[in-house]
């Protein structure tokens, strides 16, 4: 993905993706930004409230669930309707990335992140009860939503077309 360091340049072949909504995800630096954002969110929660590290991770995990579920699996279409003539109006962001190909590196990375978050959170909360329940629901919902079999599936018609 490119070497870290201030004066090192990273080179990448330009991605061939016509969908402007997802093309930005194929550039270098995205994975690191995602991980750094989670880390800083944890630090922020920890410094603002006086809670234990485990509770802070739980808060981060639950808000990560809410945000990523909303933007990856709920919102459909793109922010530039005029430019792409609404071809993607029925697809959520998750279904649009990598041109709809399943099991690419980006998708695998995004599937692993909630699992890793779950492991860190449950470890630091010592697998205690109320937190463990919510965290488990989080990870199950997020991972199931990202499975290849769920491509374009709308359970019980929830969030089906416009």
């Amino acid at each position: 993905m490119g070497r870290r360091g201030a004066s090192y340049y990273v080179e990448a072949p330009p991605p061939v993706d016509v969908n402007k909504n997802t093309e930005w995800f194929m550039y270098p630096g995205v994975w690191t930004t995602y991980i750094l954002l989670l880390f800083f969110a944890w630090l922020l929660v920890l410094s603002v409230s006086g809670c234990s590290p485990g509770t802070a991770w739980t808060v981060v995990n639950l808000s990560h669930f809410a945000i990523t579920y909303h933007f990856f699996h709920w919102k459909k279409g793109t922010p530039f309707a005029a430019d792409d003539q609404g071809i993607y109006n029925r697809l959520t962001w998750w279904e649009q990335i990598d041109n709809g190909q399943q099991l690419t590196r980006n998708r695998k990375f995004l599937t692993v992140v909630p699992v890793v978050l779950y492991l860190i959170t449950s470890h630091l909360t010592d697998y205690k009860q109320p937190m463990l329940f919510f965290n488990t629901i989080t990870v199950v919902v997020l991972v199931v939503a990202k499975l290849p079999n769920m491509h374009k599936v709308r359970i019980f018609g929830i969030n089906a077309d416009i």
Partner: protein, 496 residues
């Protein structure tokens, strides 16, 4: 190849994330506040669904004053920019009657024909008096004047093809011609950074579209082999025809197309080639004949050559130059020829005179001087900017030079600061460019003098100090380290 410092990628993504988060927050509160407002369009569908206009409302509107600035004079090397002010944080902009005289680094005025020219303008005024400002008709009805036929022959001679056809609008040339050339069952392979007019034309044609990595003949060959072997989708029948569309100079990168290699690949697999020379015709090449002359490609090897008159010739409209059979077919089938009003006669005369000046047929060597001047200006400006530390894209000899900004906050900063210093530049961001690669696009003209360019360089140096206070790299580290310190420090005091 996309090349950028790693920390810049991180900070740019973070900035866009922040802008996105604030936009969503504002939308959320707007929805909350509007929940209780009466809705007087009951039963009608909303004009915009959900997220559709999010980018325009929450990102573009914030820096709206950097785009669409009205001008009040001809776009010569110096022009008058109308000042605008806003009462409501850039949601609406009001015009004032003040103008400020700025150096023009944004117009596509490559050869300086945009302002009054000693040879062209008298002839244009004469043709305005003789033929009036519009033919008020379609080409096939009563809209073909002597000027139109003269221009078509002249363009064909200039470009090196047997015949040509002209249209009143450059964008419409691409978007109406491509559907006439390829249809259902055909394949269009276009460069990933092609202009919107080509994308629109390709979508309107009904052919299957595949995209190859920008300027990569190797990837083009890979795509061709895969598509020829696979055939049409689902039926796997052979393709009816394959057209590869590339541009001469890509206007967002300022770099030339690798034309000889791409033509060689297309000949090997018997695909047709379509070359869009909107920015390169008249501006590059020894005698201004475009990318083919510059790179040593025989025009007979390119099947269809397209260009526009807007950039180097100071007029409006576009042309297609190809073999007699193709042009005859287009004249009978292209909607822009059959149903659109023909090009305005003074505009046609402007192009005729401009081409005559470039070819030296007006009796002077001003054309050759202009071509030398634009090449010298471009090379001088590009080397000086690179020496100053800016990251400038584009090849040598190309009059377009994008300066990379990356960070979205630098776009309005650069634009507004330059305007304050009386230099007018054009900034380009997402979605016209990739998300991380926002840039300033500078277009050099043959009418810029050395003093103008030095003035522009001084202003750039000044803006460099003001805006780019830290270099990308140092700022990147600061953004990462300072918050860590702050948060860890406060965390220490609280619970650890």
């Amino acid at each position: 190849m996309v090349r950028l410092p790693y920390t810049t990628a991180l900070t740019t993504l973070f900035s866009y994330g922040l802008l996105f988060a604030f936009g969503q927050l504002r939308d959320f509160f707007r929805q909350l506040i509007d929940w209780f407002k009466a809705n007087d369009v009951k039963g009608y569908a909303p004009i915009c669904l959900g997220l559709e206009d999010f980018y325009v409302r929450r990102l573009y509107m914030r820096i709206q004053d950097c785009f669409g600035r009205p001008i009040a004079s001809a776009p010569d090397s110096w022009f008058d920019v109308v000042e605008r002010y806003s009462n409501g944080s850039d949601k609406t902009l009001k015009l004032t009657s003040n103008t400020s005289r700025c150096l023009n680094l944004g117009s596509y005025n490559y050869l300086g024909f945009a302002a009054a020219d000693e040879y062209c303008t008298p002839l244009v005024i004469e043709s305005l008096k003789k033929y009036s400002s519009s033919t008020c008709s379609v080409r096939v009805d009563g809209g073909t004047t002597k000027l139109h036929t003269e221009l078509e022959e002249l363009v064909a001679r200039f470009v090196g093809k047997p015949s040509s056809i002209i249209f009143g609008m450059g964008y419409a040339t691409n978007s109406t011609i491509i559907p006439c050339l390829v249809g259902r069952g055909g394949l269009i392979i276009s460069d990933s950074l092609n202009h919107n007019s080509i994308v629109n034309g390709a979508r309107g044609s009904g052919a299957t579209i595949r995209v190859f990595q920008h300027n990569s003949p190797a990837h083009l060959e890979e795509v061709l082999r895969e598509q020829i072997a696979g055939g049409q989708p689902r039926t796997h029948r052979p393709w009816k025809k394959i057209v590869v569309i590339v541009e001469g100079i890509y206007s967002m990168e300022g770099e030339l197309c690798k034309l000889p290699e791409i033509i060689a690949v297309c000949k090997k697999y018997k695909a047709y080639t379509y070359l869009d020379e909107a920015h390169s015709i008249g501006a590059v090449g020894q005698s201004g004949r475009g990318v083919c002359e510059l790179l040593g490609v025989d025009p007979a090897d390119v099947d269809i050559m397209m260009g526009t008159f807007t950039k180097s010739f100071g007029s409006c409209g576009g042309y297609i130059a190809a073999s007699k059979e193709i042009i005859q077919h287009l004249k009978l089938s292209c909607p822009a020829h059959l149903y659109a009003t023909s090009m305005s006669p003074p505009a046609v005369q402007q192009v005729i005179s401009a081409i005559k000046v470039i070819l030296g047929e007006d009796g002077s060597n001003r054309g050759a001087q202009k071509l030398v001047r634009i090449r010298e200006n471009s090379n001088f400006f590009r080397s000086e900017l690179t020496k100053m530390g800016f990251e400038v894209l584009g090849d040598n000899d190309s009059p377009i030079m994008p300066i990379m900004l990356y960070n979205p906050a630098k776009i309005p900063a650069f634009s507004r600061e330059c305007l304050r210093q009386k230099v007018a530049i054009v900034t380009v961001a997402f979605p016209a460019t990739p998300l991380l690669l926002a840039r300033v696009r500078i277009c050099i003209s043959a009418s810029h003098t050395r003093e103008d360019l030095i003035n522009a360089l001084d202003v750039s140096a000044f803006v460099l100090c003001r805006i780019f206070f830290y270099s990308h790299t140092r700022k990147g580290i600061l953004i990462l380290i300072v918050p860590i310190f702050v948060i860890i420090h406060s965390g220490y005091q609280q619970s650890w």
